[in-house]
Amino acid sequence: MKAFKTIHTMRQAVAFLILIAFAGCNDILDIDAENSLSGNILVDQASIENALNGAYYNLYGINDGSDGGELLGGDFKMIATLLTRQVNLEVSWDETNAPGYEDFVRKSVLETNIRVEANWRRGYETINIVNDILANLDNIENNSARMQIEGEALAIRGILYFEMVRLWGPQFQGSANDLAIPLIVDPIQSVDDIGTPTKASVSAIYTQIESDLNAASTNLQSLGTNNNRISYFACQAYLAKAAMQRNDYSAAEGFLNNVIGGPFTLESRSFDAFNNPTNSGEEILVVEQNAASNTGTNTTGLSAFFSSFNDFGSTFRIQPSSLNSSFLANNPMFSDEDFRANIDSVSSSADNVDSLYYLDAVNTFTISSAKFLRNTDVIPLVRLAEMHLSRAEAILEQNFTGDPIDATALADVNAIRTRAGLPALLDTLTAFEFYDSLIVERNRELLYEGVIFHDLKRQAANGLTAFITNSNLDPLDDRFILPIPQSECDASPGLCN
């Protein structure tokens, strides 16, 4: 019995120790590691600015490893470009060095495509970062700082939803009530916040885009170009792009006037708008890159795809004949006097290339675009040239008459033509002639920048005859809407039904 009594005492002792432990040791167990950033760190202006920089980092696809997804700084351009171009006759892709893109070239994108999944995930990751910032704005004491951070955060969300809805959703015109992608505006901070998402309609997404970008415009209006971060003008430019995508030309014209009235000027040559370490005069929004943070080196990122100054040549290869072939769908049909079609066949390093196309240093039967040669230069996202061409289109579409062509619209197109060495168009053109000219001008000016794909979709939605490739594929075909990744469908029952 003595033993049992002792055991009883023992148990009391253990219970006592447990009691002490529970009472006193939560504090002891609440620790931090050196340099750790843990818990809710969005507590003041400095930390929220860091988070906002992190949102930019993701939005622009600064290289984050192979499963990163490059969003605006890469894949959103690349996917849109590859989906429209004619394989072999026009372009080819080196799948070995950059896997996952072959599906876009083949116009048959699988749910398991790694690029689709990577960009989908990183897109929502970025949206979640800004949602979290927006939920913690009260922690910023300085009013003007809070206004600016809120503006940029809203703009990032608006821009990203716009980019995502036009890749993963149907067109607004004709399908506004169709379901597109999940609309998430509340932060997910804990695993318990992860719900099963449901799709919102195209119009609901566009409403969010416009609400975010309008609010952002108000917040940022006094800040000019905002040190090359997202500015009032960038917001207006994206509102214009969204309005164009909805085929709402009147709204688009208003936004475009605001952008074109801003402090931007066209470079004297189209080539000068590219391969600059800092913004050129015509860039409204860019991805800043430097040696330490960029969208990729060696095998990832735009510069790796377009530069041939390595062991295996460019990843994205262009047939020289495609530049002036009238045979290919949606082609620029460059004339000989167009500076933009010059091919540099002598340069042996990215630093020396002096025209928009150059001979591939390894595969000398093909050429490459020189728009994104170095990973230390800015990547243009929205250029003034696009704004001019869009305004011309918006004006014409609102009043489809010619002879004379509206003077502003004509001046917009001629500004782009004349700097490329082409003769100015006359105001005696018919509306159809002018329309055809400005469409082909868009193809020439914005080639390989990821713009044409979305143009074809909005034009098709507007009832125009538009085709992708010589196989006459309908831009509104489901194959040109990116699938929601298989892994997302598996994890979110009902989302993909």
């Binding site: 447990i18 050196e34 843990s38 992190g54 980092y57 600064i62 970025t126 430097n290 330490a292």
Partner: protein, 1021 residues
């Protein structure tokens, strides 16, 4: 494996020799000194003898098969079963030594009262092998402990599994406790083996529960040597060894390589015209031929500059130029000779031990320098240690242990890096290298050559570590005592990496990186022991205590494109070329209380209850505390009234059940964590994980039943254990909606089971004064099953976690042969047919990298002053994936070197070849069962012959003992495995902890364990 087993069993057979009547003998202690005044008694009779001043005795026997009992003051009582010999050397242990006492980390217990499953490895079992790392020294030594080398490169980690792995996302390595300090630094690998007094391997829950949340993978308790109460003794030993590769792969010759290159060129031409022709043939010397082996052999070295294909059906002919480089490929380089070498190593050690009742001391210094068998690999280690035991007053005693370790490691690149020496085997044997051109290849100068790396890059790791503890014991009475101790485990390491401009990854001005890591791990521990008087032979012992442990690690990293560490260090903080960013450190705290109650009834029954409550900083407030109880019981059947046997001298039944835990490796998964990054030269942060307050530890319950036995007065002794270990709440990365920004989150789902049987048998086959022979055998069987993953699965490379299968099973396409018509590789299509489309073939469960059984067999034979000891180690029922072979075969497209057997490939229609046609355009690594191999092996891990100089000759020289030995490690390996070494476990460091836990049994350019020849001398005075 059957022949191997039979062989092992036959080695176990015991023989006996004939009888005598008068026995002369000597009783000696551990140091070989005669023990005077010891009593030698014939068990069950009144005949006794007492040893003289030199420990000698004479005793009359009736038939020579009696049992002797040797006892005396200061020595442990020992029984010896005689087998008719007429002389006998009896080695006894001092009763003060730890021989019969098992250190349980907190408190200790007599082996006779142990109710849990614990294996002990005594100091002398750690053989004189030239093994640098402690884990390797335990390979094959005891049941239940599986040790697998990750690589033969020096200073590499070792996979250690006690009773199988129990986790996917958390660690599977056991907890190491050195002199009471639970390590977080990994320093156990570098403790001087000569300083180790004993190693205890705690296997079942009853033994490990006192370590709570860190005990799921078992606990290894290492006790270093301490002082004693004798005069000062000095031991000096020195060892010299030479290491070599145990094997060279059979790689094709220069000519065979040229034939392959020639064929690749021709097949490339053929593919180029495939769309334009129907059945093209080569036209040469007016003859037409397909590409056949005999054609290749005839023409590969004829200096052909062009090849013409003709196609009758389309009436076309095509002429191609042979690339000019082809005719320059005339070398015959054995790349393995360029990277392997005979590497010397030296090990020296001096220690002193002694003391008085008041102060015992032990101190040692040791130095090891070892070169690796691969060029550029070197490992140096200095060990220093001090241990003091002081009896301050009658009631208060203190104990200090201090170990200092300094290592310097010239490391090799990761096995997968083109700069790793073993990557040289992919280079074409038909090419050679030019030392005056940065060691680049002469013909194919763009292929990276690891010799360039070893000559123009450095990768040196240096670390200074301390493991120390200071403890006090206050004995209030002989019933109650208090222990307090504090320990430190600190490791300061520095990795210098320089890549010169000549190397592949070096920038035009070179690149230098400096990584520093500082781990500080403190533990404070206090407990009370209460052992009240009990009636009769009953005993009660109660331990109650608590501990606090904090472990932190900080990291620093700087990098710049400069060619030299000193230049890097001299760069100003503001230098634009310098990359330096704050790196998040590690930190965790364990706050624990524990208790153990042991109760013995007579010498018949033992009961034990253990419990630990752990609080861990790794979990949210709601899940922070866990309670890990265990209960166990033992029954000494041989002491029961009903038991009477002349053969069975000891029979003890043990059983236990309990719970232990395993926490994730990451520190703060319960809350959000951010990573620092930069955008446009401004600081930025990125979310690393969402907060996850639901996470809790993985819980492992373990049932153990075992029996300890002794036969013929313990001439044969051993134990048998059966266990079922079930881990629930496995941390698993579960897919979630990526609208959260993440594709998976950790959740506690899933269960895993390990069931197994362990057998240890120790036998004294012969024991007399001139000749003795002992055998120790152990074998363990473990069956691992992932029983539930909530419908999920995890696949990394060719390994997978699948429900109902062993963890990490091989999951890949089944290669079924070669299509004789076109040479395509054929794969099982899953429907009983075959397909030549690798993608279409389903992955199947095709093998298991977890061994069915493993163990070791040690024999020690002493004849007069000579001792021969051998240690065989074996692993059976295990598969290995020879990923090296996969790469080599696919490298055929690049015309790199490959295994000679690949010459036996398909050449022309009708060939029934084991290997597919050479396809110059196949650019995917197609993993399949083509490279899945049986990885079973039996290895003569150690063999040593020692000569002990007779003590009578030494005493004149003032020496206590003197021995010399020669031996070899990994001398023989019996295996069907095709790679260098079946003792291998590669994982891609980029795959993280999950990859490490899944990727098992992969050999991917992994360096073999060296074959080592050694000789040494030990002197005691």
């Amino acid at each position: 494996m059957k022949p191997i087993l039979t062989c092992l069993v036959s080695l176990l057979i015991v023989f006996t020799i004939s009888a005598q009547v008068t026995l002369r003998g000597t009783v000696t202690n551990e140091n070989g000194e005669g023990v005077p005044g010891a009593t030698v008694k014939i068990d069950g009779s009144s005949t006794t003898a007492t040893t003289d001043e030199n420990g000698n005795f004479t005793i009359q026997l009736s038939d020579g098969y009696e049992t002797l009992v040797v006892s005396g003051e200061g020595i442990q009582t020992q029984k010896i079963y005689l087998t008719g010999q007429n002389s006998l050397a009896i080695n006894v242990k001092s009763s003060g030594s730890s021989y019969n006492v098992v250190n349980l980390g907190i408190g200790s217990q007599s082996k006779d009262q142990l109710t849990s499953s614990v294996s002990s490895v005594a100091a002398e079992d750690v053989s004189p092998a030239p093994l640098i790392n402690l884990e390797q020294a335990n390979q094959g030594v005891t049941a239940g402990l599986f040790v697998q080398n990750s690589s033969g490169k020096l200073g590499q980690g070792t996979t250690v599994r006690i009773r199988g792995g129990s986790s996917l996302s958390a660690s599977n390595q056991p907890l190491y406790v050195v002199d009471g300090v639970p390590l977080t630094s990994g320093n156990q690998s570098n403790i001087n083996p000569s300083n180790i007094e004993s190693i205890e391997i705690l296997k079942d829950a009853a033994a490990t529960a006192i370590y709570g949340t860190r005990a799921a993978n078992g606990v290894i308790i290492i006790t270093t040597k301490s002082g004693n109460t004798g005069g000062m003794q000095v031991n000096v030993d020195y060892q010299f060894a030479i290491s070599q590769t145990p094997k060279k792969l059979d790689i094709q010759s220069g000519d065979e390589s040229r034939i392959q290159t020639f064929e690749s060129i021709l097949r490339g031409f053929e593919v180029g015209i495939a769309g334009l022709t129907v059945d093209p043939e080569i036209e040469i010397d007016g003859q037409r031929t397909d590409i056949t082996r005999s054609f290749l052999e005839t023409y590969f070295d004829q200096g052909l500059t062009g090849i013409t294909f003709v196609d009758d059906a389309t009436n076309q002919s095509f002429t191609f130029n042979i690339p000019s480089f082809y005719n320059e490929l005339t070398s015959n380089t054995d790349w393995q000779d360029e990277i392997f070498r005979s590497a010397p190593s030296h090990r020296a050690n001096v220690d002193i031990q002694g003391g008085t009742e008041q102060l015992g001391y032990f101190a040692s210094v040791g130095y090891t320098t070892q070169e690796g068998i691969l060029v550029g690999n070197k490992f140096d280690r200095f060990n220093g240690s001090v241990s003091l035991d002081s009896k301050i007053t009658d009631k208060l005693s203190a104990n200090l242990n201090f170990n200092f370790i300094r290592t310097q490691d010239d490391r090799l690149n990761d096995d997968q890096d083109l700069g790793a020496p073993l990557q040289a085997i992919v280079l074409p044997p038909s090419d050679s290298f030019d030392p005056s051109d940065n060691y680049r290849l002469i013909v194919r100068s763009l292929e990276y050559n690891p010799l360039t790396e070893t000559n123009f890059a450095d990768n040196q790791a240096t670390s200074n570590s301390i493991i120390g503890s200071l403890g006090f014991r206050y004995e209030v009475s002989d019933k109650l005592s208090f222990d307090v101790n504090g320990g430190i485990d600190r490791s300061d390491s520095r990795l210098e990496r320089r890549q010169g401009p000549e190397t592949l990854d070096g920038a035009p001005d070179g690149r230098s990186q400096l990584s520093e890591q500082l781990t500080n791990n403190y533990v404070f521990n206090g407990w009370a022991t209460y052992s009240p008087d009990m009636s009769g032979d009953n005993k009660l012992s109660i331990i109650v205590g608590g501990s606090y442990q904090k472990s932190t690690t900080s990291f620093d990293f700087r990098q710049a494109n400069v060619n030299g560490i000193s230049i890097l260090e001299s760069l100003n903080e503001t230098d634009a070329s310098l990359f330096e960013e704050p790196i998040q450190g590690d930190a965790n705290v364990f706050l624990s209380s524990y208790a153990r109650v042991s109760y013995s009834i007579g010498n018949l029954y033992d009961f034990q209850l253990t419990g630990r409550m752990d609080g861990s900083s790794k979990f949210s407030e709601d899940n922070r505390f866990g309670y890990f109880p265990a209960a166990s019981a033992g029954w000494n059947i041989n002491n029961a009234d009903f038991f009477s046997s002349n053969t069975i001298s000891r029979l003890r039944l043990r059983t236990s059940f309990g719970l232990v835990g395993n926490a994730p490796i990451d520190d703060f998964l319960y809350r959000r964590n951010y990573i620092r990054t930069r955008y446009d030269d401004e600081d930025a942060v990125e979310l690393a994980n969402l907060s996850n307050e639901n996470l809790k530890w993985e819980t492992t319950s373990q049932f153990n039943i075992g029996v300890d036995f002794g036969i013929l007065s313990d001439r044969i002794s051993g134990s048998l254990d059966y266990y079922i270990k079930t881990t629930t709440d496995l941390l698993f990365p579960v897919p979630v909606s990526q609208t959260s920004g993440f594709s998976t989150i950790f959740d506690n789902i899933g269960t895993m089971e390990n069931k197994g049987l362990e057998v240890n048998i120790n036998s004294i086959n012969v024991s007399n004064s001139d000749f003795s022979w002992t055998t120790d055998f152990n074998i363990s069987f473990n069956k691992n099953t992932v029983t539930d993953l909530n419908g999920e699965q995890a696949i990394v490379g060719v390994n997978a976690f699948l429900e109902g299968e062993s963890a990490g099973v091989f999951y890949m396409r089944k290669f079924v042969g070669v299509d004789p018509t076109n040479g395509d590789a054929l794969y099982d299509d899953g429907n009983g047919g075959t397909t030549n489309n690798w993608e279409d073939a389903p992955r199947q469960i095709v093998g298991d990298p977890n061994p069915d059984f493993f163990g070791g067999l040690t024999n020690s034979i002493t004849y007069k002053n000579w001792t021969l000891s051998t240690m065989f180690q074996f692993v059976g029922g295990v598969d290995l994936y020879f990923a090296t072979g996969e790469f080599l075969a696919n490298s055929g497209i690049l015309n790199l070197g490959q295994l000679s057997r690949e010459s036996n490939r398909w050449y022309e229609s009708g060939d029934t070849a084991p290997y597919p046609a050479l396809n110059p355009f196949q650019d995917e690594p197609n993993s399949s069962t083509r490279w899945l191999e049986d990885g079973s092996y039996v290895r003569l891990k150690n063999i040593t012959i020692t000569y002990n100089f007779p003590s009578d000759k030494l005493s004149g020289m003032g020496l206590r003992n003197l021995s010399v030995y020669v031996g070899a490690t990994n001398l023989l390996t019996f295996t069907d495995y095709i790679g260098y070494d079946p003792d291998v476990s590669y994982f891609d460091p980029l795959d993280g902890i999950i990859g490490q836990n899944i990727s098992r049994g992969i050999d991917n350019f992994t360096a073999p364990q060296p074959r080592i020849f050694m000789s040494g001398i030990k002197i005691g005075f």
